[in-house]
Amino acid sequence: MEFSHILFLGLAALAVVAAFNVILQRNPIYSAIGLIVVLCSLAALFLTLSAQFIAAMQIIVYAGAIMVLFVFVIMLLNVRAEETRIDKQKYLKWLAAPLFLALLAEVMAVVRYVDLTPQPLPSANGAAAPQDVLGTVENIANGMFTNYLIPFEAASVLILMAIVGSMLLARRERKEDVERIEKALVAQLEEEKFEEEVAA
């Protein structure tokens, strides 16, 4: 029993318990908090694998940004408990079990048959990086901006498009609406002018 085993078991147990909490809670805010705990314990697991950058990103992006939005929405809509349960699709419940078993079998197969020894990332000058600095910022940046530059840039363009698209959706004004409002305003102005003339 090594120290890393204790750490792993503790963090893994925390992640699993919190994940069950996400599913089983009826109150969405408890589920959200459970999900945050899952994400944080996953980040800690990444740290034990010396994947420091991934761990930090996990917390900053998922726990720090995305989940904040979830919590915000839950709180602003003031969803106190799960209001309606979806009863229409009862058969889905029976589909879930075989799908879960398939997923489990897949994971087992991966663990059993795939070579999981960490492969050294190719660094900029082609030399293999030593094991313990695999997850450092420098190493990931080297990979990202040399060997995997095109996928990286493609992903960033995709995200940019998503941002622009969401802004467009949020501020789209229909032409007819604008024209209707303008007409109404012009009519109102003319009416006021007319009234002023009458008063004069």
Binding site: F3, I29, A63, G64, V71, M75, V133, T136
Partner: protein, 373 residues
């Protein structure tokens, strides 16, 4: 089991825990006396005396306050969501505290009686059949030097938002909810400018490791700080300004203290909290102030670098704390001087002034970095 206690991991963990305990007690003392200093300095600014009864010049006031907090009645209002109400102060404080493991307090220093202590530990281990060989003749004044130190700080500070939102929501009171929402909106907005502003420093230092960022500012008789180094001083000074402003907003302090604006929201997200739970929120606020001050010192003002550190390493923590206390004083000074922003002014300032300035600064820093570094 003996292999577990013998392993290098175990020794490392114990060493880290001891360091964390020492630093934690120290930080708690600093926090307690920052509160005291705030009251005294504000009193001077407002031409009154401030707390001066408990102990000489009121120096024992923090302990009296602590006792008061402990013995006050802990009220949990009826309509609150009990679990989340109790959980919220804990969620605020723990991430705030977790940041202290990357504080670079100083260089490697010789520990007084380090040899004797190492020998004692070795003998003690030998009694239980262990082989503990720890060299304590020099110790580093940080718990860990993470490769992603700066990102770690940002990650942890971003987790603190949950406590505030959850506390505001669980209190089931409109003032608390509004305070919590304001606070989180403000923290998210200013976090962007804050984290974008430090990129100028990262281009200069070439690392995210806080201890290495400080080490790269060594030289010039202790004055080779990032804000003085040619040619990066220009983007660094702009970054410093942006950082300072957003840091004050990030910690919800005057003039950005809208989340707890007394005149409109009673006390914001902690309106319903009393006794020790309120004290936890209060402590978290001051620990966060400490964190942003430490980051400002580390990134821009050379960390523990200063005249004489090369010859006397113990001067390192002294310089470091002097700079951190300067920032803490600045906070108090601003509180005594400036009025509060309006909410729309706050948002406009963050999104339309600070964020574009930070983005422009990144471009400037990159151009200078490519041309000169």
């Amino acid at each position: 089991m003996s292999s577990l206690f013998n392993s290098i991991d175990f020794q490392y963990v114990i060493g880290a825990l001891v360091k964390i305990a020492v630093f934690w007690i120290f930080i708690m003392l600093v926090v307690a006396y920052t509160v005291y200093a705030e009251r005294r300095v504000l009193a001077v600014i407002q031409n009154r005396l401030g707390p001066n009864r408990v102990g000489w010049q009121g120096l024992l006031q923090p302990f009296a306050d602590l006792l008061k907090f402990i013995f006050k009645e802990d009220i949990i209002p009826l309509a609150v969501n009990k679990w989340l109400y109790i959980l919220a102060p804990i969620i605020v404080l723990i991430p705030a505290m977790m940041v202290l493991i990357v504080y670079p307090f100083g260089p490697d220093v010789p520990l007084p009686f380090g040899g004797v202590i190492s020998q004692t530990i070795h003998d003690l281990g030998a009694k239980f059949g262990m082989n503990w060989n720890i060299d304590l003749s020099t110790v580093s004044l940080h718990v860990t030097n993470m490769n992603v130190g700066l990102l770690y700080v940002f990650a942890m500070t971003s987790l603190g938002i949950y406590g505030i939102v959850v506390g505001g929501w669980a209190s089931n009171s409109k003032y608390s909810l509004l305070g919590g929402l304001r606070s989180s909106a403000q923290m998210i907005s200013y976090e962007l400018a804050l984290s974008l502003s430090v990129i100028a420093v990262l281009i200069q230092a070439g690392t995210l490791d806080l201890t290495k960022i400080v080490e790269r500012q060594q030289g010039w008789y202790g004055f080779k700080w990032n804000v003085f180094q040619w040619p990066m001083f220009l983007p660094c000074i702009i970054a410093f300004t942006i950082y300072l402003v957003s840091a004050i907003a990030e910690t919800n302090r005057v003039p950005f203290d809208l989340p707890e604006a007394e005149t409109e929201l009673v006390a914001g997200f902690h309106t319903e909290y009393s006794s020790l739970k309120f004290a936890l929120f209060f402590m978290a606020e001051y620990v966060n102030m400490m964190t942003v001050s430490v980051l400002a010192t580390t990134l821009f003002l050379g960390g523990w670098n200063g005249p004489g550190v090369e010859t006397y390493p113990w001067l390192g923590p002294v310089w470091f704390l002097a700079k951190v206390f300067f920032f803490l004083f600045l906070y108090i000074w601003l509180r005594g001087t400036l009025p509060r922003f309006r909410y729309d002014q706050l948002m406009n300032f963050g999104w339309k002034v600070l964020l574009p300035a930070a983005l422009f600064n990144i471009v400037l820093a990159s151009v200078i970095g490519v041309l000169f570094l």
